[in-house]
């Protein structure tokens, strides 16, 4: 009886505390959910002659994307994202593995070292590569002075420089999740594999890699989703020809003043991200379920 009354009092007090959540969620409702609904609605409207929005329903903004010009941009964006994800994975996995095998204090230092560049502004990090790669840049100046080349090499403003910039800015996203899953790995399973006579490669391929699948998937999704929405790197390090979806969207909003079309493009971008994140949840759940039964 007493316990019941105290329980009620606790519940009542708890109810009072509920209002603490209100400011944050009213804020996110007004400045996150509402704007998202607005661009969804905008994507079905028409553009007036002077770039104003005409409030009439149309599917034209979506139909326009079938144009070969935009198909090409979708394709390029997708290609860059796939390559960025694959290269980051190859760069990140051995590093994450190495970090997970260190002692505790060394791990902390290395993790902080991986994390710091991730916090430094994307723009500044892309610009750092411009200093290195441009025709009067560090590499060209050095090569010219040694006489190895007579003309500066075209290292910047092409597909390759965009790829370097993408991998460079997004690499930390891949290292951290893989590290987390390696850290949670049950070492006894590796020892069992060795005891049964498996070679290091076989152990890695059949035991370590499958057991760290969830980290690989998390990292890949983070890198992929970030790269399909990226506009800073292609803007600073790519030439006029390397426009990706992010650049086209930005252009529709700021120069072309076609907000409905820009909204439609960004809705497609978001749906694509959402589908990937959904598939991610399914894949991770499946991976965890499998590990649970193993």
């Amino acid at each position: 009886m007493v316990a019941g009354r105290r329980g009620d009092a606790h519940l009542k007090n708890g109810k009072q505390l509920k209002i603490l959540a209100l400011p944050a969620f009213v804020w996110l409702g007004a400045l996150f959910v509402l704007p998202m609904l607005m661009i969804t609605a905008l994507s079905f409207m028409k553009r007036g002659t002077y770039g104003q929005v005409v409030y009439e329903f149309t599917l034209n903004n979506y139909a326009r994307m079938i144009d070969p010009l935009y198909i090409q941009i979708f394709f390029d964006t997708f290609l860059v994202a796939v390559l960025t994800t694959a290269i980051s994975l190859v760069c990140a996995y051995p590093m994450a593995y190495y970090i997970s095998r260190m002692d505790r204090s060394a791990q902390k230092i290395w993790l902080l070292l991986v994390m710091i560049p991730f916090w430094i502004n994307f723009l500044v990090r892309s610009y750092a590569w411009v200093i290195i790669l441009r025709s009067q840049g560090v590499i060209n100046t050095f090569l010219l002075s040694t006489g190895l080349i007579q003309e500066p090499l075209p290292l910047l403003y092409n597909f390759g420089s965009v790829m370097v910039g993408m991998v460079y800015t997004l690499l930390p996203f891949m290292v951290l999740p893989i590290y987390v899953s390696l850290e949670q790995l049950d070492r006894r399973k590796l020892e069992a594999a060795y005891d049964l006579g498996a070679t290091p490669w076989k152990t890695f391929w059949h035991v370590t890699l499958p057991l760290t699948k969830s980290g690989v998937i998390t990292g890949s999704i983070l890198v992929f989703v970030s790269s399909i929405g990226m506009f800073v790197v292609p803007d600073v390090m790519g030439g006029a020809k390397s426009a990706l979806m992010g650049n086209v969207i930005q252009n529709q909003f700021l120069s072309a003043r076609d907000w409905p079309f820009g909204s439609a493009l960004s809705i497609v971008l978001m749906l694509l991200s959402m589908v990937l994140i959904y598939l991610y949840y399914r894949a991770v759940n499946a991976a965890e379920a499998k590990e649970g039964t193993a």
Partner: protein, 263 residues
């Protein structure tokens, strides 16, 4: 064989670390180069830094950045901490709605948040400027604060709170005297992280800034589009140094608060 593999892996990891830091180091180094025009080293100088401090536009951008970061991170920390503390009193269904509202802004592409806020502000005829920047910065920082505080609250045992309530403390008293002091390092970490996010943000600010509210990253972007110059290097170096100090401080506070190694 095992030693060889270990050495290969070590070499590879060090190479990755060099890849991550070399461009930043080069940028910082050239901010001290005497020559304006090319990549040849022609002597050490402080003059680009001195000229920054004489530049009225730079000082204005710096002031805008710092004041926007301060105001938006205080708001995000207060709202975010309050929301995280209230969460456990809601039913499971409401909590999953709140979780969605917290994680969605983190996972959607930044550019979407920027342009959707631009659409909102133009529809309600709010003039773009410092106010719209602050509103946008609170919106993207708030979810990070909620996540940090939530992680801390989930790690924390319930024993102290339950003991306080058994001794007759109300929910408010428990919050005020037990929970808040226990999580205060995480609150500071959340604040420092929002401050960093705000100071560093370019993409979202790009959409919602007005002509008189240029922040440091926006100013740097303007210069970068005009080409490489030692002033941009100096300004970028300052931004990097600020960021690193803030991130390290936030990380120290967070580690102080929790034994586990989490992000």
């Amino acid at each position: 064989m095992k030693a060889l593999r270990h050495r290969t892996m070590a070499g590879y990891s060090w190479a990755m670390l060099v890849f991550l830091y070399l461009p930043i180091a080069v940028l910082m180094l050239y901010s001290f180069n005497d020559s304006r025009i090319n990549a040849v080293w022609s002597g050490f100088t402080w003059k680009w830094y001195v000229s920054l401090f004489d530049n009225r536009q730079v000082m204005e951008a710096l002031w805008n950045s710092l004041s926007i970061a301060l105001i938006s991170s205080v708001l995000a920390t207060v709202f975010g901490t309050a929301a995280a503390l209230a969460m456990k009193h809601y039913s499971l269904r409401w909590r999953s709605v709140f979780n969605g509202l917290t994680y969605l802004p983190i996972v959607i592409p930044e550019i979407m948040m920027g342009l959707s806020l631009l659409v909102l502000f133009s529809q309600i005829h709010l003039e773009l400027g410092k106010l719209t920047l602050i509103m946008a910065h609170v919106t993207f920082s708030l979810p990070y604060v909620i996540v940090i505080i939530n992680t801390r609250l989930a790690d924390m045992g319930k024993e102290l709170e339950e003991a306080a309530q058994d001794l007759g403390a109300t929910a408010w008293e428990t919050l005020r005297h037990i929970t808040l002091p226990l999580i205060s390092p995480s609150i500071i970490a959340g604040f420092l992280m929002s401050f960093t996010l705000s100071l560093d943000d370019f993409v979202i600010s790009f959409f919602v800034a007005g002509p008189n509210s240029t922040t440091l990253p926006l100013y740097i972007y303007g210069l970068v589009k005009r080409g490489v110059s030692p002033e941009v290097n100096a300004l970028s170096t300052l931004l990097i140094v600020f960021t690193v100090l803030l991130v390290v401080a936030a990380e120290l506070f967070r580690r102080k608060d929790s034994k586990s190694l989490t992000f």
